[in-house]
Assembly symmetry: C2
Homo-oligomer: 299 residues x 2
């Protein structure tokens, strides 16, 4: 037994993902962030940006399938798709499973993420070879201003709202995103853990609910993210989250490991504490002191 | 910042829960197991048995509500209830919220768990003061043989299938449990993580499906358990998991933090990899080598 251990930085105060490591495969700084790849004992290879787990070979499907297929199925005929961030190619791979897709733009600020993923996660990053895919190395907050009424679906596969990902959580970004979408456009965005970030999730929800016709929150279960769950903001200009669920379209999607018709609907059903939080109530889920500790993040 | 850290033992190979500790409040051996209580930084007080996290003040509701209210609601009129294990009083507390309840037997092998919980987790263990509650310090595998056609609902709140909890996972125990239930009896049992223990969960499901009219698996999300989720085997002699869901009965339950009508139904909707596993398919969710590492547990 070796003694190499990876501990995630204290992004969520004092509750960490810890795992044994076989080997450090990459560790360097891009112009935007620290980029690392580990070979872990339990989860295969793992991509880490600025000391935060981005993905592992073992469980990334739980995230990528849920951020991608929910909006792609809600939209009745998605042809043009934007992926913000997502330089690893995981969201792109899932989006490209939909036969209606004609064009996918992946707008990722850091080219190094694409490069390191092509080397270490080819089962995800080989999706960039698809002729329907375009990669743009740009700040998506700027790129989005150049598009109006263009994308049917957008998936915002961002890092956390600190560092380079911070602009992707602002009201201005969401307003511009709304403008970049067609009249029946659907967006999903990485929106943290219902256990650790309730306050900020509720504030995003209330903001999105003003900008879009439909706003909601749904979640997936993923062992290597803090608390074992991560959620998504759902924003839509026409369809609600349960519209257009088409059994035939879902059954045509190849090699699904997480997403299915029932889990699409089930993932919007929130535990009572989170349901009430989005309704503006503030029930503590532990003693106040613990909740305070847990939510003492830097955003 | 102090440097005290709790790391869960390698129950699941090399993937651990890690958190900062303020103080060790209890650490001693009962006749059955090592009993520890920590004051943690992020989750309040935490009960640990044989180096495995049993509960924290912060998130135990996610487990206790889901193991208790699902069978209590599925049964149309539960009067007599058995809790196996559960010496902390958390399941008992939830069961007693149902006004139909006349008698709850908590059969827990280790009296020390009750004692330490009364001292450190009174918000759970004060439920033992309810006149409808009876505590029996006995091996539940033996106790269950003495009851026939008696309990309407049973909740098996066991430790993992190693050590004192092992007998609670045998075919014989389930057969005796079936006998101890009334003709419309409903059982739920702690049944590990769909990410880390798929093989054994599927074998339990297939066994239960032969013993009971209805068998199913459902899950909750809970940050301090390995992988962030734990599931339950649902076994029922008459009602399926979606029968008798009564909005009025649910709305009369006080102070729910996790359970609600929608989450009852949603929790039985499994990710595709787990749904297929229960159907007898064996799709790997990571590369085979990782799955092998992940499932190399001692049971």
């Amino acid at each position: 037994m070796n003694n190499l251990v990876f501990q995630e930085k204290e992004f969520v105060k004092s509750a960490r993902v810890t795992m044994a490591i076989e080997e450090v495969l990459e560790s360097y700084s891009s112009p935007f962030q620290k980029v690392e790849v580990y070979k872990t004992v339990p989860f295969g290879k793992m991509l880490v940006l600025d000391d935060v787990v981005m993905l592992t070979e073992y469980d990334n499907f739980a995230y990528h399938e849920m951020i991608a297929h929910v909006p792609m199925i809600v939209h009745s005929n998605p042809k043009k798709v934007l992926v913000v961030g997502g330089g690893d190619g995981g969201v792109l791979k899932e989006v490209l499973k939909h036969p209606s897709v004609e064009e996918v733009v992946v707008c990722e600020i850091d080219e190094e993420v694409v490069k390191v993923s092509k080397k270490h996660f080819p089962e995800l990053a080989s999706s960039f070879d698809d002729s329907r895919a375009t990669f743009i190395a740009q700040d998506a907050a700027e790129y989005i201003k150049t598009k109006k009424n263009y994308f049917d679906v957008a998936c915002v596969d961002s890092t956390d709202p600190i560092g380079p990902g911070e602009v992707l959580f602002t009201k201005e970004f969401y307003q511009n995103l709304e403008q970049a979408l067609t009249e029946d456009g659907v967006v999903t965005t990485q929106s943290e853990s219902m256990y650790y970030h309730r306050d900020v999730i509720a504030s995003w929800y209330q903001r999105n609910d003003k900008i879009f016709k439909h706003a909601a929150y749904y979640f997936t279960v993923i062992p290597t993210y803090p608390s074992g769950t991560i959620g998504f903001s759902f924003c839509s200009k026409k369809y609600d989250a349960f519209e257009n669920i088409n059994t035939q379209r879902i059954s045509s999607l190849k090699n699904l490991k997480y997403y299915n018709e029932a889990i699409h609907k089930a993932s919007f059903q929130l535990p009572q504490f989170m349901k009430e939080k989005l309704q503006g109530q503030n029930k503590e889920i532990g003693a106040a002191v613990h909740a305070k500790n847990m939510e003492a993040t830097s955003f």
